[in-house]
Amino acid sequence: MAAPSYGLIATFDTTPDLYHAAAKVRDAGYRNWDCITPFPVHGLDKAMGLPRSIVPRISLVGGIIGFCTGMSMIWWTGAVDYQLIVGGKPLFSPMFAFPVSYELTILFTAFATIGGMLFLNGLPMHYHPVLKYEHIRRGMDDQFFIVIETRDPRFNLANTKALLEKAGGKNISELEA
């Protein structure tokens, strides 16, 4: 077929097979590739050479924005926009602004975490080329796959295929984009 290829997909029967194959693909220096498993495999992120997620940093930024929003909102409304003495307290004090700032810290952290996660995952995603693969449903049941994308700088049809074969992959086939 003339359509450009998305990448190569290889099938593995057991978790250890997949785990060791992932380590080999990692060591070969590939970057644009992924594993498809029916359940979370502990330690697979390490075998794939994945760094820790940067979602926590996005969460931190969200938290800081939330805290500053709370503080400045209460300062603006109470000390600038509509000055009103309540209970003999100063027009602004971080004391009474704290509970609200704290709540907003949590709220904005949650938003940033969820939003950051979706953004980094590229979700929502309505279509993915592997869905065209006829056996992909086994990836939700009892089989494991490794997909290496053609956009990876190291991708070379013959070499990559050889690597997957050497790593124990079966039914290696090309995916339509």
Partner: protein, 425 residues
């Protein structure tokens, strides 16, 4: 795979002589610390300072032990798995309760021999600053059913009795299971936890109220027991991490602990940092907001002198705000700071140090000058605080190290041991 782990760990039964030597050293250091404190009481012209410092020391050490007890009880009630390999060290440490009781006895005896010396409300003739005596004080009279020498003595005995009893039950069940592997010990621990948690919560709250809060018996705070609990757990977690790294470096814990154990205990330390801040802030905020004199005077003592000038405790309060919350909070946000041994260890020592400052902040301002102002933080009392902590802490370390060789390094037949050894995120 896990069974080989367990086998390796059990063969490394810590029977070595180095522990015994360290134990003797700890006891020596402890006794020297206690002797220096006693010397302080004997030679200082004003004996209040060293005695109150001793109260700081014993409250600090007891709080850590209570924290360990509570962590074990929580571990059993929620049927936790990852903490199985760490639990054993806390069980060893629990032997110190009986020594802490022994070390508390001088304060109890002092309460009978010289009532009012430490806790002013015990002496009905004690002059209050500016308005009569304790006996004629309506705020004392209304609280006298709770605040009297018999209640104080009985309650203190009950606190230690419950802690020693719960500890003995937990240790017996856990240690016996090592040899017979019987599941009934796990169930026994679960029952101990079910009854022990309410007992623990009540005793630690009342201990904090009787020993510390009642130094200013006019004061009201419904947060006090929870504040103490937060410090208990933070102290226990800090010591837990320090023990983990010590045993790792010695080689005992190699092949037993993995990164995720540190990550989990680090997360708990982080969570309780936030919890401490939440409780401590709430206490301050509610009192600040309500602005009732019976409550605000407690903070005023820790901020200003009678002439309105700022006193040293104001700065200690800021040290607590930043040192007890912001620094550990921001530091422990990072994953690396929780799992890299050289990074998590210093913050745990730091937390222990600030808990001690927190105890000083709560106890030492009860020492007052002729104007009713709190005596400054920076004084010779800090020396007595240190000698007391070294003294009482040394005895606790000795007690822990004496218990250490009597059982296996980890509870090898705990039903959750495999899960704990293969703990993952």
């Amino acid at each position: 795979m896990s069974s080989t782990h367990a086998a390796t760990a059990s063969s490394a039964l810590p029977s070595d002589t180095s522990t015994a030597a360290t134990a003797t050293k700890a006891l020596t250091v402890g006794l020297v610390g206690l002797a220096v404190t006693a010397l302080g009481v004997a030679v200082m012209p004003d004996r209040h300072g060293p005695v109150m410092s001793y109260l700081v020391g014993i409250t600090f050490c007891t709080s850590i032990l209570i924290g360990m007890l509570m962590l074990i009880l929580i571990h059993h009630i929620v049927d936790a798995s990852w903490s199985v390999v760490i639990r054993r060290q806390f069980e060893h440490a629990l032997t110190s309760f009986k020594w802490l009781f022994l070390l508390f006895l001088p304060l109890l005896a002092l309460a009978w021999v010289k009532p009012g010396f430490v806790w002013p409300w015990m002496d009905l003739t004690h002059e209050l600053h500016g308005h009569g005596t304790v006996g004629t004080d309506i705020l004392y009279q209304k609280k006298s059913g709770f605040l009297n020498l018999h209640m104080f003595t009985g309650m203190t005995l009950a606190f230690f009795a419950s802690w020693v009893w719960l500890s003995a039950r937990l240790r017996k069940a856990s240690f016996t299971q090592d040899s017979d592997g019987d599941i009934k010990w796990t169930f026994m621990n679960r029952k101990t936890a079910a009854i022990g948690l309410p007992i623990g919560a009540l005793t630690l709250s009342f201990a904090a109220i009787y020993w510390v809060k009642s130094l200013e018996y006019h004061w009201f705070s419904t947060m006090y027991g929870v504040w103490f609990f937060a410090n208990c757990i933070r102290g226990a977690l800090a010591i837990g991490v320090i023990i983990m790294i010590w045993l790792w470096n010695r080689g005992d814990y190699k092949g037993v602990l993995n990164t995720n154990h540190f990550y989990s205990i680090g997360m708990l330390a982080f969570a309780f940092t936030v919890f401490w801040a939440y409780i401590t802030f709430s206490q301050y905020f509610l009192i600040w907001n309500a602005n009732v004199p019976e409550e605000t005077f407690w903070y005023n003592l820790r901020e200003v002198n009678h002439d309105g000038s700022t006193n040293q405790w104001w700065y200690v309060g800021l040290v607590l705000l930043f040192g007890h919350f912001f620094i550990p909070f921001l530091y422990l946000l990072s994953y690396k700071h929780k799992v890299v041994h050289s990074k998590i260890k210093p913050i745990m020592w730091w937390i222990l140090a600030v808990i001690l400052v927190d105890m000083c902040y709560n106890i030492l301002p009860a020492l007052k000058d002729g104007h009713g102002d709190s005596l400054p933080f920076l004084s010779l009392n800090l020396l007595w605080v240190l000698t007391s902590v070294v003294g009482i802490g040394g005895v606790c370390v000795w007690s822990y190290l004496k218990s250490f060789p009597t059982a296996k390094l980890i509870p090898i037949r705990d039903p959750r041991i495999t899960e704990s050894l293969t703990h993952h995120e």
